[in-house]
């Protein structure tokens, strides 16, 4: 008998499973099928390849996957897919989850530990899933004297703002970006500007001394570092003459901007670490001083949402660094081209030859660009994670001194360098002037 679940009986488990299957089938046939038919009756079905999509046709397509490919291809270019899956939330959340795992293993190796090891057999790869399940199953405790609506909405706002930030990052050539406004960089600044407001709101709403101090610290820190952050990016805007992030990436086809504006990149990198509240700038969450700062009162999935938002923000900042300084998706073509015979002649398996329409779901440039973007972004993320194992936390006066004196000064110097390069005729939009 198992010691973990002493009441466990296999027969009862199977019985409960069959029970569940029975009820699901019953409810589906009684409620689900009528609803499906009612919907099919009222909805005007689309025309695909000059054929009306009837339920019967859909059933035949299920048997012939080649005919579903055009639909999938259309789906890939819808805003729905962009927001939910590829350049948007799903892709970012996947990278964020990988980041959490890599951070734990990376830090463990630095500190001569093993890190997560048991969950998921292979090097604790399922640890994150276990943590997530734990957070979901925990009770959400709301302080009695908290301002409840704002306290509830805080984590959602945080994830929402982080998601908005993610949506502005162009990932691959050919319109693989959720939102592509012509003033993309201004939109980024506007999104970043929301984070201190959320921190202060939730900190104040929790009605706790530690959250209050933490929220004020977060406000001080983010405002002190937002100005050098914006100033450091002005040189890029001066050199490229555009605020659109996709155009900024396209201007780096030959030279990355980090070559010409290294000071800007350094200032921006330091500001990233400060905006993300990571060591050495984790004052708003300084554990030994103010418990957990502005996150003190969050429990269960509310804390989980904040963590998710933090890592989405980390991905977005790393992506922004890649886009602005490391050339975004530009890189040598390493992805193999799609074999041309499959498109022209189809696939031959034994006696059967299948001609599948619209087969290259993604073109070569897009896959190549995504590969380079991910490689560069992961590199930047690892660099952002590195200081956590090396530095202690700094003090608030040192932090403000760094932000208001040193970084702003460096950012201004950098603007003059950019102007000098521009007026000396060395650089113009698109890199070196030949």
């Amino acid at each position: 008998m198992s010691t973990i679940a002493p009441q466990f009986r296999l027969s009862r488990f199977i019985a409960s499973l069959t029970d569940i299957i029975f009820w699901v089938l019953l409810i589906f046939s009684l409620v689900g099928l009528p609803i499906v038919f009612i919907v099919l009756f009222y909805i005007k079905m689309p025309l695909i390849n000059n054929q009306l999509l009837t339920p019967y046709l859909a059933m035949t397509w299920m048997a012939d996957p080649s005919r579903t490919l055009p639909i999938i291809k259309t789906l890939l270019h819808t805003t729905f897919f962009h927001v939910l899956a590829f350049p948007g939330f799903g892709f970012a959340a996947l990278l964020a989850a990988a980041t959490i795992f890599v951070e734990r293993k990376f830090l463990a190796k630095m500190q001569l530990r093993v890190g997560p090891l048991y969950c998921g057999k292979i090097e604790g790869i399922l640890q994150l899933m276990g943590d997530g399940l734990k957070l979901i199953s925990k009770e959400i405790i709301i302080p009695a004297k908290a301002d409840k609506p704002i306290f509830w909405v805080g984590p959602l706002l945080f994830v929402g703002t982080a998601g908005a930030f993610v949506s502005l990052i162009p990932v691959a050539p050919g319109g693989w970006v959720v939102a592509n406004p012509s003033v993309g960089l201004l939109a980024v600044f506007a999104t970043i500007g929301f984070f201190p407001i959320i921190s202060v709101l939730t900190a104040w709403a929790a009605n706790n001394k530690w959250t209050f101090i933490g929220g004020l610290r977060a406000l001080h820190q983010m405002i002190a570092f937002e100005i050098p952050l914006i100033l450091s990016l002005l040189s890029i805007v001066i050199l490229t003459g555009t605020l659109n992030l996709s155009q900024i990436v396209e201007s780096q086809q030959h030279y990355w901007w980090i070559v010409f504006t290294p000071i800007s990149a350094i200032v921006f990198f330091i500001c990233i670490i400060a905006e993300l509240e990571r060591i050495p700038f984790d004052l708003p969450e300084a554990e030994s001083e103010i418990v957990a700062g502005w996150l003190t009162e969050f429990s269960g999935m509310m804390y989980g949402l904040i963590q998710l938002g933090t890592y989405l923000k980390l991905y977005a900042f790393a992506g922004l660094f890649t886009v602005l300084f490391l050339g975004g998706w530009n890189g040598p073509s390493v992805w193999p081209p799609f074999p041309a015979d499959i498109v022209t002649q189809g696939i031959t398996i034994g006696p059967v030859t299948a001609k599948i329409a619209g087969l290259p779901l993604f073109d070569q440039q897009m896959l190549n660009g995504t590969l380079w973007f991910v490689i560069k972004t992961v590199g930047v993320i690892l660099l952002i994670l590195l200081p956590r194992g090396v530095f202690p936390r700094i003090r608030i006066d040192m932090l403000l001194h760094t932000g208001w004196y040193k970084l702003i000064g460096l950012a201004f110097i950098n603007i003059f360098i950019a102007l000098g390069l521009l007026y000396a005729g060395v650089l113009g939009p698109g890199g070196l002037i030949q």
Binding site: K209, V390, F391, P392, R395
Partner: protein
């Protein structure tokens, strides 16, 4: 309507600018105690340490047990430094009962005490690291402690609470080949702790953060009665191992580490440098130790102390640690008073924290080499 207050309780005058923070007892940066801190913005106006949450009445318990039964529970206040907290008890009991300690046992005691001092210092350093937000400095010392914990486990059989030092010598002799193993581990240990320099003590952020914070001048250090590394970091050359040598410390070759600055950085650096001196002592003791002989003078059953009183003190990981034992012709001591370094160093905390930033609180607090459990006894 005014509420009738209980006698002895006064209402405090409330200032809108001042916020009172209860750091502890349930706070990740407090230890087993409470600091009542009042802040004006980010500056600490006053700090009132409130120990006593882990008072266990060790002194009273000692009055109901005989001299041998007292050994295991008297090491509980500082289980990481258990050899050093038993050391003065053994010295005092030996004087009370008139026991001679074999020469080999004296050296073994010194080795055990120095190993334990290193274990304690590493544990303290680990917490100092995480208090400053340096997680690598938490993991490395916590891992390197294992080297010496393994040695003491081989010596005594227990990993943390050794109860190795007993009145009359040590509990049992060293295991076979202990000397070689010990020298090997000490060499590797020295190599390891040299690496802390690069990542922690020479770290520019740490230096700018802790240098000049919580400065305790030489005169203040003496006037407030601080002891141990806090005293030596303020420029006072005082080490009981040198000034009042006990057992065989006078034969051994080591130096006292003294720093002049008296700030948080110096207070954290002195115990670190003392670990190198400890390694020196261990090597020297192994060289000079008699290779064979008895390690324990057997006591009579239920030994009785005379009508006498005795005070002995040693240098522990946190400073002077003294036992004052009064006996009245009975198998149990009449009174045991433990004077610990932790409590004496705690006294200067309100002086040091006044006017500091809140962010300096952990750095100053833990640099005082203060162990709450020991202070409460």
């Amino acid at each position: 309507m005014t509420t009738q207050l209980p006698p002895g309780i006064q209402l405090e005058k409330v200032d809108d600018r001042i916020m009172t923070l209860n750091v502890g007892p349930q706070h990740p940066g407090s230890g087993h105690m409470r600091l009542i801190i009042k802040v004006d913005g980010d500056y600490i106006v006053s700090c009132d340490p409130d120990p006593g949450y882990v008072h266990r009445g060790e002194e009273k318990m000692a009055e109901y047990r005989n001299y041998i039964q007292n050994i295991p529970h008297l090491e509980r206040p500082v289980i990481h430094d258990s050899s050093n907290i038993l050391y003065p008890y053994c010295l005092a009991t030996e004087e009370l009962l008139g026991i001679e300690v074999p020469e080999r046992a004296k050296y073994i005691r010194v080795i055990a005490a120095e190993l334990n001092r290193c274990i304690y210092t590493l544990y303290w350093l680990a917490i100092y690291g995480i208090f400053l937000g340096h997680s690598t400095m938490f993991m490395w010392p916590a891992g390197d402690r294992e080297l010496f914990i393994d040695l003491l486990e081989a010596m005594s059989g227990a990993r943390v609470t050794h109860a190795y030092l007993v009145p009359g010598g040590v509990r049992n002799d060293l295991p076979a080949n202990f000397e070689e193993r010990c020298l090997r581990q000490v060499d590797y240990f020295e190599k390891r702790i040299k690496e802390y320099q690069a990542i922690f003590y020479k770290n520019p952020l740490l230096i700018s953060r802790t240098e000049g914070t919580g400065v305790l001048s030489r005169t203040d250090a003496i006037r407030l009665g601080t002891t141990g590394s806090v005293l030596r970091a303020s420029g006072v050359n005082f080490d009981i191992r040198k000034k009042e040598p006990y057992d065989v410390y006078e034969n051994l070759d080591f130096e006292t580490v003294v720093m002049k600055e008296g700030d948080s950085y110096a207070r954290s650096y002195v115990p670190y440098l003392e670990m190198f001196e400890s390694c020196r002592i261990i090597r020297d003791a192994i060289r000079k130790m008699p290779k064979s002989g008895s390690v324990r003078t057997k006591l009579k059953p239920n030994p009785k102390g005379g009508n006498d009183e005795v005070y002995k003190r040693v240098e522990s990981g946190r400073g002077a640690l003294g036992y004052y034992i009064v006996s009245n012709n009975r198998p149990e001591p009449y009174r045991v008073k433990i004077s610990v370094g932790s409590f004496r160093n705690l006294i200067c905390m309100p002086y040091l924290l006044k006017g500091e930033l809140l962010g300096n609180m952990p750095a100053v607090y833990w640099s005082l080499n203060y162990w709450p459990v020991e202070a409460d006894r």
